[in-house]
Symmetry: C3
Subunit: 616 residues, 3 copies
Amino acid sequence: MKKLFGACYYPEHWEPDRIEKDVEIMKTLGFNAVRIGEFAWSFVEPSPGEYDFSLFDRVIETFSKNGIGVIMGTPTATPPAWLVKSHPEILQENESGHKLNFGSRRHYCFNSLVYRKFAREITRKYAERYGKSDTIIAWQIDNEYGCHNSTLCYCDNCAKKFRKWLKDKYHNIEALNKAWGTVFWSQQYRDWEEIDPPRHTIASHNPSLSLDYMRFSSDSAIEFHREMAEEVRKYSSKPITHNLMVNFTEIDYYKLSKELDFVSWDNYIPGDYDYHLQGMNHDLMRSLKNEPFLVMEQQPGRVNWRKVNNYHDPEQLKYWIAQSMAHGAFGSLIFRYRQLPYGAEQYHSALLNYDGSLTPRAIAAKEGFKAFMDEEILIPIKETAIYIDYENFWIDRTDRLNNNFSLLSDSILIAYKALRELGYNVDFVFPEDDISEYKLLFIPSAYYVRDEFLKKLSTFNGKLIVTAMTSSKDEYNNIRSSIPYGLEEILGVKVVDFGGIEQAQDLMLNGKKFKGKFILEVLKILDAETIGDFLYPYEKFPAVTRKGNAIYIASIPEESLLKELLLSIGFEKRINGAEIINFKGTSVLLNPYPEKREIEFGHDKIFLEPFFWKIL
Amino acid sequence: MKKLFGACYYPEHWEPDRIEKDVEIMKTLGFNAVRIGEFAWSFVEPSPGEYDFSLFDRVIETFSKNGIGVIMGTPTATPPAWLVKSHPEILQENESGHKLNFGSRRHYCFNSLVYRKFAREITRKYAERYGKSDTIIAWQIDNEYGCHNSTLCYCDNCAKKFRKWLKDKYHNIEALNKAWGTVFWSQQYRDWEEIDPPRHTIASHNPSLSLDYMRFSSDSAIEFHREMAEEVRKYSSKPITHNLMVNFTEIDYYKLSKELDFVSWDNYIPGDYDYHLQGMNHDLMRSLKNEPFLVMEQQPGRVNWRKVNNYHDPEQLKYWIAQSMAHGAFGSLIFRYRQLPYGAEQYHSALLNYDGSLTPRAIAAKEGFKAFMDEEILIPIKETAIYIDYENFWIDRTDRLNNNFSLLSDSILIAYKALRELGYNVDFVFPEDDISEYKLLFIPSAYYVRDEFLKKLSTFNGKLIVTAMTSSKDEYNNIRSSIPYGLEEILGVKVVDFGGIEQAQDLMLNGKKFKGKFILEVLKILDAETIGDFLYPYEKFPAVTRKGNAIYIASIPEESLLKELLLSIGFEKRINGAEIINFKGTSVLLNPYPEKREIEFGHDKIFLEPFFWKIL
Amino acid sequence: MKKLFGACYYPEHWEPDRIEKDVEIMKTLGFNAVRIGEFAWSFVEPSPGEYDFSLFDRVIETFSKNGIGVIMGTPTATPPAWLVKSHPEILQENESGHKLNFGSRRHYCFNSLVYRKFAREITRKYAERYGKSDTIIAWQIDNEYGCHNSTLCYCDNCAKKFRKWLKDKYHNIEALNKAWGTVFWSQQYRDWEEIDPPRHTIASHNPSLSLDYMRFSSDSAIEFHREMAEEVRKYSSKPITHNLMVNFTEIDYYKLSKELDFVSWDNYIPGDYDYHLQGMNHDLMRSLKNEPFLVMEQQPGRVNWRKVNNYHDPEQLKYWIAQSMAHGAFGSLIFRYRQLPYGAEQYHSALLNYDGSLTPRAIAAKEGFKAFMDEEILIPIKETAIYIDYENFWIDRTDRLNNNFSLLSDSILIAYKALRELGYNVDFVFPEDDISEYKLLFIPSAYYVRDEFLKKLSTFNGKLIVTAMTSSKDEYNNIRSSIPYGLEEILGVKVVDFGGIEQAQDLMLNGKKFKGKFILEVLKILDAETIGDFLYPYEKFPAVTRKGNAIYIASIPEESLLKELLLSIGFEKRINGAEIINFKGTSVLLNPYPEKREIEFGHDKIFLEPFFWKIL
């Protein structure tokens, strides 16, 4: 894969004659790629069946002449007004039965057959037109599936499709009734037609239904994607991708990424900035296919859609580019090339100012691109891994022991940060992945662990850390016959009781006090050693146990507890005050802070400029 | 009434062959009763008109052989999918016009005639089948009316029924217009058909309409209950009950309990645990009929439906059983017998584990049952009383002087706690009740006091404490012509002005500073003595007055103020650090805390183990 | 304009025979005016087409005999039940498509032609009946447009009307597409019929559409008003007004007040009482026409519709009357004359008690009226001015850089308070107003500054203070080509970047530290002098600049910063601890506090009683 640097570009937003000037500027900034096209439906098809691709033709020709590749985005995220007005049945419906309205984006239902027909048609038009162009280097299908909480729709199209999906899965209604336990609360179904999406009720839905609905909804998005990609592939042999999102868990990205020729994602920075959270998302994106990935949209500074759209120092953009490259990106496109004075995102920052002049962010990007253009694309060496299965996010959401707890930010992110703070690379591994090469595997509260993965664990030789609730649920979102199912022998413990905890609970490990949070489990020790105990009023209960390489924590650990634990089982603190990524024979050190830092690295002291990095 | 101990049991959730094993376990745990059947509609009538009672037949026969009585629950809280699909008009509708959906429970409208027909039919089937069985010891109609805020429905069935209800009450529209004051804001009705439920509006509804709608809604639930009970009574002579709920105020439980042969309720523990709150609910349940009551569902540990589903020490269950017996229960059924690995309540704890093994909670329950099985059922002696009228909760909700104020938790509970902290028994008295035997009667902010009760007050000889807003409203939710209406002579004061207060207001009583909260009244002293004054900036205003035995507080007092007041009018502090209930010739002391306690009781010191009790 | 003192009176709420008694009382209180009639539709037209004005006839005759003038309110804010039932299409619809229901008030849609017909009809009936009466001194059309967030409706009537409004504005759809930038997110319209109100979507609407919809909604209210006023003018030559509201920004009051013969408003006191906020609203109301205004409804004490309906000292009413007169009112009517024991406002205080007796507020009002009855009506002299354009409130709401920021309370009110705390009069000036006489003009974050006003600024000779975001937007809610557009030369700076800030940012002015809030701008200095800098981490950025008389602040200043700045450019601290209003040759000092105060005024010390005032 070639390095790609550039930006997201919207020639339809400007005077047609601007294109030559823009390409000239792009070249001075070191661009070799742009993405275009993904919101241009009403522009290229202003009336049903009337197409005008002339501007894009000119744009592509100009890029072609200047050696800049084009990632072409298909425009199905924004069905135009004429389509919505003539076919309002394509609109999403929320759980209270409200139809979404035209006026922003992502207003369509993945399961509308009418919409799929129109979407295939416009996708085909794009593909026919540019499928053979050498300038096109890749395709992006649609844009940010699931953005603005748009994955789940509850309309009648979805109801119909859901019934079919269930029929394909369970074959007969009795099997479904049994799997879901519908005898509880008198919910037995006689007929598939009686089953609806989990629309608004006053008390909890059946969690098996809810989990299947999330599976179905994820599958619906993926099926939509597959159909569109099929159209493109008829006309083009270029790789196809879709831009994934930070912290999104409604679509099974692992499953979706099987449909993608490479993974790309949009690196936006949540309001409460944490560079480890961005790092985690990079590592997750790399891990989806265990390959380099593309940052399709890189936030350059202020955005427009947050509660507070923070000012960012332009230098920080350079750091963000470097961080993504260090975590395994093969390129970075800045969203967007130029600030747009109109429309819903007019407060969004860009490389160029509203007036077309360069901003300091353009200079920062240029320098960032230049620094990595000649570096080899490498992916970090395998050191430690964290287990992820997207279905566990759905279980976390559909049946709640403690509503204050979030699987992603309270369990997975905490495990990630402990490992990264010590200086270890982290991969995310999925049920199908090989885990044999890792020296440590972390299983953070994985409610449901698939049989195939349990099998792998039984022969895993590295260190293993498992936290509360792991393997407590089966594939139907039901409680396992014993907990942690399939892991009792490896871990040497059995969970005999559990409950939420309002306040963090003190526990003792290595003579130091730490906090267990959100959940408390009562363990029966089979043949593990207790290495940490809870304190008052639960001083009789083991908190941390060890059996050989396998450690179990009967709560949700805080980061400091995990670091202590890691240090006590043979890991070391490699770094202080910076981010480090380790490659074969080299490491990259990055300073995520706006001030100069002195970094302790082994016995050395290394100085890093604000937002800067060093390849060792 | 016989003592009843046992659990709520769902044979339909398990393999049919499990029943014999379960009954064996139940006997070892000391059960003599179970409740079954209340969510089994789709199980016994899987298709319309097709009934299969064979499992319940077997279950009842097995209980019969083993001397365990059965409370049979009718299943109308959960109309099955086939019924909802064929008759969606039975679904509730919220104030914005959204129909509830199938998928949880309590989705039906009390006023749907279609639903009533189906509900009577399934109720009759249950009654026909088991009406003559000696094993059946009682009936529970439906389950937890009003749970999940399901009392109020705003559908067209309700609109139609409400108009009839109004016609029966007011006879002619002019009487209604006058009673409601519809001339305000141009709301005069010409015709009953113009009146709708208080559906969503942008500003306040007419409070008279709102109050009548709450009366109507409560009546609708009670009428539904009465119809179902009628069906049962045709076939069975066993007592009929319904399981009431902690802190529920939408249905007039006093009125409903007239339809019940005995009161039962479900003792669930709000997140912010307060043993006095549970005690208050027990006392309220006992007071409804002034008879022993049954705890139909006793939370054993963790539940599944709270924000945080807390872990609870198994020993605490023993305390909860003891507390209920001490407050006048004649039995306690644990909800539920065995943890269910599927369905919406799969995180709910139980006596048996998911795998059918005993949990420590089973042992705790067994010990709790055993301790009380041979004790006589007694109800606490009459000492003090608090006045309650459910309609005042509705007035509190439909016209708000201070939205931070809750009649139940800020006024009634505070009065209760002050009395209980000193060690006095508390009964709740209703307008129809006799009050002559009490040495103290507390009237906490009773907006509307009925004439019949005003009459009783005029001859009451005990101490009387009355707090702000009492007797300020008439039966139409309108302001009385003078306040406190009908009590000026008894109390010797007149309220001439009032208002909310954002911050608590200092006042002085017996040389000590206390807080008045939420409301401040300006009193005109008729012939009372001022015994407490507000401080700056209202130092001219009396805060607490006394005329003979009658005390008035021109605000909402904090607990410490009430204790001071009680001590100064002849009450004493009987106990320190434990709960006490007083019976003829004996008392029960209970330790609600997880640690051992030394209790001061008179001149004695008594040691109580954690969560334990002593009968003196 | 004659001084008007009195109250809002509802004869239809009481026994008809009460009127003579009431008028007698009113005379003793010093009334010379009342407002009646504005919620009496169902009273005067109990059935469609059946009118009964007999009570009002008697009332007006009685007032006439007693020399009390009547402001007649037309009753269109409360369409009666019979009208709503027969024409439900007149009801408002919210952005989710819910129809409002009958039962409170303001439930009608301004754009319902059906409603307009009925509304004209009842308005004409009022006008016909009383148009020639000498007792009528003025008309109030409808009541509190926009109250309870009722300005914006999203129904199909509105959609239809909005399309017409757009057609009138843009003439052809291409002009609209261009102005709104609909090419963004594929929102180009082919046809006017494709455009809908900004109903509920999952992401942001086009801000140009949103702004036009707010303009349209404001225009709809004004058009409704104009139609009703037309009816009245056919029969009456008396002045016409409407009662405006505190802090309301959804209707362009400047535009509306052109339709009014005099401005009146309802002085209600937000929960978190701030006398400057009330003062600001008075000054704004006076500034709308630059004429004395009427307080049509003066809160006398407790209201009924707040979270906490606070008790208020009766003396405070006297202060409120005095404050309004000092700010330029020509009268004050208390809402309401007598407390009403029924209906949605039964907790609202009044001059008379529920039983018809005088409250202390009646005495306070009487004294307040008396004090000002013989004073000349004066308006404060022109000293300083703050620029307001209602459209900027709409821009502030439809495109948000920092959602924590409120243009009204964080920018305009802060500027007002700084000026008032120093003791300067403040006028509000609108784009069309003359500004030449002011010694200082403040432009607080005026996103959009109209060309006509930019022109005035270029010749303005006073001091000028401009804060962040000013002149950053054009009339379509789009970003200006340069910022602050049209003011670079005057201010000597250019804004080259900007962003929200989560936390207040330190900055240094005159050697003292202050806070900039919400927004941070990066300035390019053209030819201004930097007089204040931001501190770490933005110490390179100018915070406050000065070019001659023109000062720019690149953030949202706190009040203390502004006071420091004002003092350093020639303003002085005239007063300490009281409110002051300056007139030609005299000043009024007011003590807004409940305690006696010693006021420093120049070299004098002046004592002011609680809630009292002094004319110097």
